[in-house]
Symmetry: C2
Subunit: 196 residues, 2 copies
């Protein structure tokens, strides 16, 4: 797990370059300006390479964000095993998600693009679903290997992703500069205590 090898690193590098290029182009020129051709041209690569890595532009745009989502599970695994699951989630998710999202105005335009384009919406949902699955796996490892525990872990991971999605949406469209970490903490706390 330490040495991915030069080969895989190069592959990941071109993938990341394409994804970042697509991301920037969407922010600066709008979604319409993002095509496999335009992105690969801007990244000095062949259009065929773009299609080797990504199925379409939406997947490319959100790929880097998806990668970061997957690191959430690793951060959960890094917590002490005896820590209660909710404490773990509350400790890990708010700061990690806040750092992952970065600038609020950037995310506001992203959310706008997502709600305007069915294909972007679908891809965003796929990203969140993969995040949910990886979280469910990490949570499942903490609790136990029971059969019922798997379903419970899924429920918990689903609630966590719902909290992330909801708080990010609220944060992005808010006019005041509220703290995303605090919003997410509130959502998670509500889910923990139970919704009245």
């Amino acid at each position: 797990m330490t040495q991915p090898g030069l080969r895989e690193r190069k592959k990941a590098a071109t993938r990341a370059t394409l994804s970042r290029t697509a991301w920037s182009m969407m922010l600066e020129q709008g979604l319409d300006a993002v095509t496999p051709e335009s992105v690969s041209a801007a990244a000095d690569m062949a259009p065929r390479t773009f299609r080797y890595h990504f199925r379409n532009r939406e997947e490319a745009i959100l790929d880097e964000l998806a990668q970061q989502h997957l690191t959430l599970a690793d951060q959960i695994r890094a917590r002490p095993a005896q820590e209660p699951t909710w404490d773990c989630l509350l400790a890990v998710l708010p700061p990690a998600v806040a750092q992952m999202c970065g600038d609020r105005t950037v995310f506001a335009t992203l959310m706008r693009v997502i709600s305007d384009n069915p294909a972007m919406l679908a891809q965003n949902l796929v990203v969140l679903e993969h995040s949910r699955l990886s979280l469910a796996r990490a949570i499942g490892e903490r609790t136990s290997t029971e059969v019922h525990a798997a379903t419970f872990a899924n429920l918990l991971a689903g609630a966590a992703v719902t909290a992330i999605s909801t708080s990010v949406a609220h944060w992005a469209q808010s006019t005041t500069d509220t703290d995303l970490a605090d919003l997410l903490t509130d959502c998670l706390t509500q889910l923990r205590r139970g919704l009245p």
Copy 2:
């Protein structure tokens, strides 16, 4: 709301026919057998008509299910306004979802197809997202018109959809004939009380 008019009814009829045909073909012959051409041929319609209604086969296959999801919001609106929201959800969702899903083995094959095909997974997530949005709207009407209430309704609707999705997945892949309504009731109850 009572008389959609002959025109809209006919349109909805062809749409439903195409969707049901696509659904059956997926169950009986597998996803590969489902194409705009094969479906419209089986339904005695032009391929162009298929594309007028649906973007692709996945949307067609899941369209009828999506329509039923949207009726959940209506059933929630039909409940007395002073009923607590959680009571309302517990009263409406378990029986409605159980009736909507129907046979367990049918859903088992559907879930298999969904997990094997990225495009089907994405479309299923889109269906659930639309369900979540319609639920959030219905819930928002019950609670209040506050700004914060909208975020809370989203959180609640997200939790409800998570419960639906999780319990359906558990039910579909279970070998014993457990009751879907009971499973969903359990999931919702856990979310209501708060997850330990």
